[in-house]
Symmetry: C2
Subunit: 199 residues, 2 copies
DNA sequence: CCTCGACTATGACCGTGGTCATAGTAGTCT
DNA sequence: AGACTACTATGACCACGGTCATAGTCGAGG
């Protein structure tokens, strides 16, 4: 991951997301975040007066924006954009990471949900917003590829649901099998939704 | 949920699963489990000398068996078994719960993974085994319905991945939309895998 | 009755971690 | 220089929670 050379505030949000991804929200300490971000501990209460909840919420929001940004970049990188190609790119981001760095991390939004959905209302809303941002980006990409408007939303939901679930399975099994499986199974289904253009 | 009138040990495992489902592993205290199970605190160290890890592992294992058992019961309850019907039943279990009791809980296996996958190796293995048990039951059901053997496994993985992901989305959004969407989108795909029998 | 095992009951210990309080530094504007 | 703001630095407080130690109950068997 590119180490953004931004200010300490952004570095802490980024570090929080990374640590949450690996250990979950509750097991991730504020002090730990500061150390990981090479930021002074005192900055935590300065930049995040709302405490841990605020930091977590911002980390979740960052993750949502990051995922949406990736979708756009995947789209731009595809020589011939197809829904299956986009989904394959999204999945490959995970298989690449798992094969290169091991199965240490999951999705930070999922982690925040599991740990905070019931206990911290603002975090649940942040997670909802993150998914919404992400799903919106995917749906928009599908529409640009020729998927009818009323089909783009449901298919985006299906893609992200499958991906999130496959991430869980892959992490449990320490094997990318589930990820490659959903990509292979869903690819043709997604492409079938593109309205025929050329014949 | 039927309150099993078993011994305190099983009640504690059941309670642990329920609490983990709602709050995650780390936020669920041992004392809390004992109270919820109406079991004496002293029984914790008696029945689970391996400590919290053992309790969590057994809760995850119980959840896997429970899910697999549900699959068989869904299958038996379907007048005319089809893959889409089975998947609809699996999804409906969640929509029913969410509509009746609110969006408080997620999948305990997912929760255990998020919180412990990296920190507690035995729990990661327990989660893997739980998914395996569950996936196996689904694959077997698909095979009985006429899905070719080499297709059953991948489709079972797809079903469980989508379901797990949709649970996350539904909980975030506090709306069963994602669950009903994946059921609707995947139904025809699953049924298409049944080899034609009658024409 | 005594004992032994299974189970229950509690209090103590100790690390962890979020938060708060209080200061200290550094740069800038007047 | 003085003052004001932004940021850094730390120590203390306090609650929580897993674990351990110790002891109590209670039924069965001899």
């Amino acid at each position: 991951m590119a180490k953004a050379e931004r200010g300490p505030r952004e570095r802490m949000i980024f570090s929080a997301a990374q640590l949450i991804r690996r250990d979950g929200v509750v097991s991730t300490g504020m002090r730990e975040v500061a150390v990981d971000a090479a930021a002074p501990r005192g900055s935590l209460q300065h930049y995040f007066p709302g405490g841990k909840a605020q930091l977590v919420d911002e980390a979740v929001g960052w993750a949502g924006g990051y995922a949406a940004g990736r979708v756009e970049r995947f789209l731009a990188a595809l020589p011939e954009p197809t829904p299956s190609g986009l989904f394959a790119s999204m999945v490959r981001q995970w298989t690449d990471e798992y094969e290169a760095d091991g199965f240490a991390g999951g999705c930070p939004v999922a982690a925040a949900l599991v740990d905070c959905a019931e206990a911290v209302p603002s975090t649940r809303k942040a997670a909802s917003a993150a998914f919404s941002t992400w799903t919106g980006a995917v749906a928009e990409a599908l529409t640009e590829m020729g998927v009818p408007g009323e089909r783009a939303g449901p298919l985006a939901t299906l893609m992200i649901s499958s991906l999130e679930g496959a991430i869980l399975l892959a992490r449990a099994e320490r094997d990318v099998r589930a990820l490659t499986t959903v990509a292979r199974e869903l690819g043709p289904v997604l492409d079938a939704a593109v309205r025929e253009k050329g014949g």
